[in-house]
């Protein structure tokens, strides 16, 4: 080759190399979009899995790791799954099911010997989901899961409503590549349920109407989609049921048994049964019962007669006569005996925690929890006006280390978290209940919600067997104020 040709070829390399640099700069933004949320190729990976990401095979390694996690799941080795969840979500931040499954393990599957969840992991579970949602901000799945966890596990219906609403504004993605599919209707249904739990009944009804309208439009266009027709029918049922409940609890009590037998329709705007005789008294004895309830509450009964609408179900106010006595019969063994004048099946929450414990908001996801912290939560069902059982925390020192000096022992009933048949008596926000000693009205979220709650501030010695005097009871206001303070660490 001639020297001049060689020189020219050599010179040609320079502009070509510069061109590749400009191209690289143009390509980089797209690569960043593709890899959003993905950690560096080998962060936190064990040696056997490092080579794959080095070759650009993060997703394949993530897939194989998840296959391995599935094996651990089937063998019951839950502890082994969590580190894999962390690695998979680092390698492939779009594996929605991995975030959801990992968060479920954290929130539900770490339990003590009596199957009570270790709730110290819940902030970590929430943070993992929040991280996943931030990495997949267009998809509904993880936001829905956050809503479900807040609703089902944490009973924080305001947070649940926040996440369900976010989820309802997103779109679906499935394995068939339908990236822009509308969210499933159950997202709207859960939003409506969470609003009802919050006592925001009109908004709940509006969501049911909106969901029904969407389904009716869909069914008109796809009349042979029987699955969606079932969904539409369930929306009709839920809309009418919610309206009927509002009507019965706050306007005129319905006779549900008669109504069910007659099976009449309902006015979807007012909740009033279409046949008026379904909500009027059918026998004179029912009038007597209602009048007796007013008399018991020290009130004069409104004018009632057979054939007239009866007063709303939440009237007259029901005295729950709540009280409870806790005794530590042995170190870390709590015996609860309480009375609660509500229907069978209502549940009283028993919670014991360090006085420094607060609901943590983690900035970064971490599996590490404060092992020195104690947090126990149990639910006791009411039977024939009483509740209580033994809560043995002595067998699980890792969960219940009791290293602190003072604790709060809380017994509470949240009307918003209870069952519909209890709501039938008390309303969604406890409007129909009262208690001379332990009623506490929480006005932080509107409408107000009326709790029944008794709180003891106890010492470590008392957890280990010393008696707990009634002077250890603290006011609900003090406890609420204390819980609103930021977390302090020892």
């Amino acid at each position: 080759m001639k020297a001049s040709t060689r020189r020219n070829l050599g010179l040609a390399v320079i502009p070509l190399l510069i061109a590749t640099m400009f191209l690289q700069a143009a390509i980089d933004p797209s690569v960043r979009e593709i890899n959003k949320g993905q950690k560096t190729a080998f962060q936190g990976l064990s040696g056997e899995f490092v080579l794959g990401p080095l070759l650009g095979l993060q997703q394949a390694v993530a897939g194989l790791l998840w296959v391995r996690a599935d094996e651990f799941f089937h063998s019951g080795d839950y502890d082994a799954i969590l580190p894999i969840v962390r690695m998979v979500t680092w390698l492939d931040p779009h594996q929605l099911d991995v975030y959801i499954t990992g968060a479920w393990h954290l929130a539900y599957n770490f339990t003590d010997s009596s199957e009570r969840s270790d709730r110290r992991y819940i902030p970590a579970s929430q943070r993992l989901l929040e991280e996943g949602d931030a990495n997949n901000p267009e998809i509904y799945d993880i936001a829905f899961e956050l809503g479900w966890q807040n609703s089902d596990k944490i009973k924080d219906f305001a947070r649940a409503e926040y996440w369900y609403r976010k989820a309802s504004g997103r779109h679906g993605a499935d394995e068939r590549g339908q990236a822009k599919a509308p969210v499933p209707m159950f997202v709207w249904h859960q939003l409506a349920h969470s609003l009802a739990r919050l006592g925001r009944l009109e908004e709940s009804v509006d969501v049911w109407k909106k969901a029904l309208s969407m389904s009716e439009d869909f069914v008109k266009k796809n009349p042979t989609d029987f699955s969606r027709r079932n969904v539409r029918d369930s929306e009709v049922h839920n809309l009418e049921l919610t309206q009927k409940r509002i009507f019965s609890r706050y306007k005129h009590e319905l006779d549900w048994e008669v109504d069910a037998k007659v099976g009449k329709g309902v006015n979807r705007e007012t909740g009033e049964p279409l046949s008026r005789d379904t909500y009027v008294f059918v026998t004179g004895s029912e009038v007597s019962q209602k009048a007796a309830a007013y008399a018991k509450a020290g009130l004069s009964a409104p004018a009632m007669a057979v054939g007239l609408p009866r007063p709303p179900a939440i009237e007259p106010m029901w005295n729950t006569a709540f009280d409870v006595r806790p005794v530590f019969t042995a170190p870390k063994v709590l015996e609860v005996k309480g009375r609660f004048n509500v229907g069978d099946g209502a549940r009283v929450t028993v919670r014991l925690h360090d006085d420094t414990y607060r609901n943590a908001q983690l900035k970064e996801f971490s599996f590490d929890i404060n092992q020195d912290q104690t947090l126990m939560l149990d639910q006791h069902s009411v039977r024939a006006g009483t509740f209580g059982r033994k809560v043995d925390m002595s067998k699980d020192p890792k969960m219940y280390s009791f290293k602190g000096d003072t604790y709060y022992l809380v017994f509470e009933f949240n009307p918003r978290a209870t069952s519909p048949f209890i709501h039938d008596r008390f309303g969604w926000s406890g409007e129909g209940m009262t208690d001379p000693k332990y009623l506490w009205t929480d006005s932080s979220l509107q409408p107000d919600v009326r709790w029944v709650r008794k709180v003891y501030r106890i010492t470590r010695d008392q957890v280990f067997g010393a008696s707990i005097p009634e002077s250890a009871v603290v006011s609900n206001e003090e406890y609420a104020r204390m819980m609103a303070e930021p977390m302090t660490t020892k």
Binding site: M1, R6, L9, G10, A12, V13, L16, L17, A19, T20, M21, L23, Q24, A25, A26, I27, D28, P29, S30, V31, R32, E33, I34, N35, K36, Q38, T40, A41, G52, L54, L55, G56, L57, Q58, Q59, A60, A62, G63, L64, W66, V67, D70, D92, H94, Q95, L96, D97, V98, N136, E138, I139, A173, D174, E175, R176, G177, Q178, A179
Partner: protein
């Protein structure tokens, strides 16, 4: 014409090599076994099937490209057949280009075979043909084109063993583009300079990784088609640079 004749001869020679055929058979077998992950949920199963299929194509393509790229020129020198070729009216650049094209044709045939199997398995499993996945296969081919040019460049002056480690090592470094990209904004000036050098000068193989987008349809980039074209142009220009350098080095080499 001479270049194409050399390329054709190289392709025929490569397709006769048992090691490459064995690699192809293993890869096809692994892709065909992909649906065995069906015990996961449908969404996870699909993600694993897609990611594994693309990974197998990449891994097999990588081995095929490096094994063919590192050997084409040194083998000719070792067997002394190069003297016969160069004693004819064949320019050295034609020889280098012919060898490169022959190697790339080989890689194309292999990746195409794996791609057909992969897309068929996916279509069978998901009951529909997903043309998007073709983009992943195409980008893998151009990634291998760039790697092939790199291997040819090294083969003009390095032994096959040294070439193997050089090509493989640069492939790994070039795959860390997300790392070097993040280091470009590092506070330490020395780190910044080093990251810029690595990011803009070393062939950036990480560019070609479209897997996140292909596996998770929800991942969106501003313009996927422009991104693909940019990468193809990048591969072509960078390969041209490497081939020019290979021609210049080989021209000076005494054989």
């Amino acid at each position: 014409m001479v270049t194409l004749a050399i390329a054709k001869q190289t392709l025929e020679d490569m397709l006769r090599r048992k090691i490459l055929l064995v690699l192809l058979i293993i890869a096809v077998g692994m892709i065909a076994l992909g649906p065995s992950v069906g015990f996961l949920s449908p969404r996870e199963s699909s993600a694993v099937l897609r990611s594994l299929g693309l990974a197998v194509i990449l891994l097999a393509g990588l081995l095929i490209t490096i094994l063919s790229g590192i050997q084409v020129i040194p083998t000719e020198i070792e067997r002394r057949t190069i003297y016969t070729v160069l004693s004819k009216p064949v320019q050295r650049y034609e020889f280098v280009l012919g060898k490169f094209l022959g190697g790339i044709f080989t890689v194309f045939v292999m990746i195409a075979a794996m791609g057909v199997v992969f897309l068929s398995v996916l279509a069978w499993q998901e009951k529909r043909f997903d043309p998007e996945m073709l983009k992943g296969v195409v980008l893998t081919f151009f990634q291998m084109t760039l790697l092939g040019a790199l291997a040819i460049f090294f083969s003009t002056f390095a032994t096959p063993v040294v070439n193997f480690f050089l090509s493989f090592g640069l492939f790994i470094v070039g795959n860390l583009s997300s790392v070097t990209d993040s280091l470009i904004s590092n506070k330490n000036p020395a780190t910044r300079i080093m990251a810029n050098a690595v990011h803009y000068i070393i062939p950036n193989f990480g560019n070609f990784n479209l897997q996140n987008k292909l596996i998770h349809p929800s991942v969106e980039i501003s313009n996927a088609n422009v991104f693909i074209v940019q990468n193809i142009v990048y591969a072509v220009i960078y390969s041209a640079v490497l081939l020019l350098l290979a021609i210049l080095v080989f021209d000076k080499r005494e054989v």
